[in-house]
Symmetry: C2
Subunit: 142 residues, 2 copies
């Protein structure tokens, strides 16, 4: 059961187009895999070696893109015993689509910081978020 939901996380490689003065980096189109409506887009800065964990969205579908730096995302089933790790960033430039119902956290792997963009199908709503303390889930970040 847990394995099945973690297998629903998808990774979509994204194009970087070299142009004079600086590249253009694709992020998300409304025809792309993982698009399920537009609620909000925002940025999370994550400092080098900092960890933001853990959170679960009951309804929000997430699309993470890292245009600056490098970030490790860790996904975990609700029974807290299966994990999936995905690293994306400038080098492996891709989008991660995360269905609702998955616990996740992330760690900055680039100094001074990385930028995570989330394109979400819903506007931020604290009532659809479950939060867990870092040590509530037995995962070794180091």
């Amino acid at each position: 059961m847990g394995q099945i939901i973690l297998n629903q996380i998808t990774i979509t490689p994204l194009k970087k187009i070299i142009t004079p003065g600086g590249s253009v980096l694709h992020a998300m189109k409304n025809i792309d895999i993982g698009y399920s409506g537009f609620g909000e887009t925002y940025f999370s800065i994550i400092n080098g070696m900092s960890i933001k964990a853990w959170k679960l969205h009951k309804s929000m579908i997430l699309n993470f893109v890292v245009p600056l730096g490098k970030v490790k995302f860790v996904f975990c089933t609700k029974d807290k015993d299966e994990f999936k790790e995905i690293i994306i960033g400038e080098e492996s430039y891709s989008r991660i689509t995360v269905p609702a119902g998955i616990i996740f956290g992330f760690q900055g792997l680039f100094s001074p910081y990385s930028i995570v963009m989330n394109v979400a199908n819903l506007i931020h709503d604290p009532f659809e978020i479950e939060r867990y303390e870092k040590n509530e889930i037995c995962y070794n970040w180091h």
Copy 2:
């Protein structure tokens, strides 16, 4: 007439929320001023002192946010005689909404580069873009 269209460009200050491990930066919600549907979001990297100019979108409505660095945007009427300059970036963290039909260019004011995010109501379509050479429009970038 030119003045009227340049006055339709709007600047919306955006929130930065300080959280442990790195701030959260608002960008755009589907209820925000300037939102007119979601077609695509992408990033344009602009190197320090580089200029990308000029372009006009016949149909696309643009929403620019600069989560890294500092960028000067220059907007120009189709008769090429009136200009509007707006600088946004990490310090004056805001969103610029640009109606269709305005010529624009931008210049990086931060080294090594700045990141511009565009949230657009349409997917990229080369047929709705008009391009002009940098020297076709009499504007002093320096």
